[in-house]
Symmetry: C2
């Protein structure tokens, strides 16, 4: 129906794809909208919420860590659709596979959001603000920290002039394994085998990188203790 963005370029880009009008002025937002989706960075959310006039439109945000009450204390009808996925520009996401976590301020709003969400994805689950925050925290470990582990691995390889390509099949298989198993069953490595000789050698090899040495130690400690 209408696209808003702070910048003309972004607003126009999306509006052209959708064939709708666009605006860069929050005051011009269409008050007859059934649904207003605020999908901005968590830091920008508060400012947008303060300045939107939404009437009785259902207003939702798409943030994992932000509770619904930021909306419900200001709007008659509010809710959340949190897509649990990592998005990067230049990479198409298959939305039908993405879990959409929904929450709403009333059963009517929940039912509206469910219909909308089910038109986008086959995996729609109702999750309250508190649980969603823990889900987001878990996602930081599973996604952001895993990716950081790939980066450290890439840096270690670079130190020996080895190509990151060597690790790609291993990384994919590591993720594939837990599509079927639980991660506790998929664990491998020197710490699980209690191979202290290899762990000692690795600590020595990391002596130029005290931060990674610390990560190595704390991870192995965790793996040893969790079993």
């Amino acid at each position: 129906m209408q696209v808003y963005s702070r910048t003309n370029t972004s607003a126009k880009q999306l509006a052209e794809k959708l064939g709708t009008p666009f605006t860069t002025d929050l005051q011009e937002i269409n008050k007859n909208a059934d649904l207003v989706i605020i999908s901005v960075s968590d830091d920008a959310l508060e400012g947008i919420v303060q300045n939107i006039v939404a009437g009785d439109s259902l207003v939702i945000h798409t943030s994992g860590p932000v509770g619904m009450e930021i909306l419900s204390k200001r709007f008659l009808n509010s809710g959340v659709i949190y897509p649990l996925q990592t998005f990067s520009k230049n990479r198409e996401a298959d939305f039908s596979e993405i879990p959409l976590c929904i929450e709403a301020s009333s059963p009517e709003n929940l039912s509206k959001l469910r219909s909308f969400a089910e038109s986008l994805s086959a995996k729609v689950v109702e999750i309250g603000s508190d649980e969603r925050q823990f889900l987001h925290l878990a996602a930081v470990f599973a996604c952001n920290f895993s990716n950081y582990m790939y980066r450290v691995a890439d840096e270690i390889l670079r130190g020996s002039n080895l190509d990151f390509d060597l690790l790609r099949p291993l990384i994919l298989e590591t993720a594939m394994k837990v599509q079927e198993m639980k991660p506790v069953e998929a664990q491998t490595g020197p710490a699980l085998r209690r191979d202290r000789k290899t762990m000692g050698k690795h600590i020595e090899m990391l002596k130029k990188y005290p931060e990674w040495q610390k990560i190595y130690e704390i991870m192995n400690k965790g793996i040893l203790e969790m079993d």
Copy 2:
């Protein structure tokens, strides 16, 4: 040609698949073998090497962290084939996709190992003992530690009665992204966005788990500093 294992059951199981004789006595190993593959846990390797009589057979091991010299100081012809992958029982591995890192004690042995390795995988690379040890260390970060992050995520979800299934598409996409991009380009999350509000809330949410709190802090510090 022949299978050896410490236990009768394991030796027999593999020998039946291959249609070969088997033994549980190292002294009975066939001295006419072209190739002897010692594929055991790193801890057991030394003991096997001490007790094998191999004549002029080419003797190899398959370990990432162990150097070739453990073999070359004892056998005329030696080498390594290190398959860079994570193996779990009950999960079939597609060997043709697994990078095989080869090293040998002479150009002749290297050429023999290359032919053999190329019959198993399309990705055969020559890598010396020192580089292989760094590759193995990088693999510990990329695979074992990533999987440990999945486990922590699973535990966090369990604390809120949420199903690990919710995270599976995210984990797969995180690994898929770095099949094309470099991990530095694929990084997302609160630390990358410098979202201190969310990071502060997460630290608070982890107060019951001091070890994971430490991991959270050290990972975010790493992500912030690496950029």
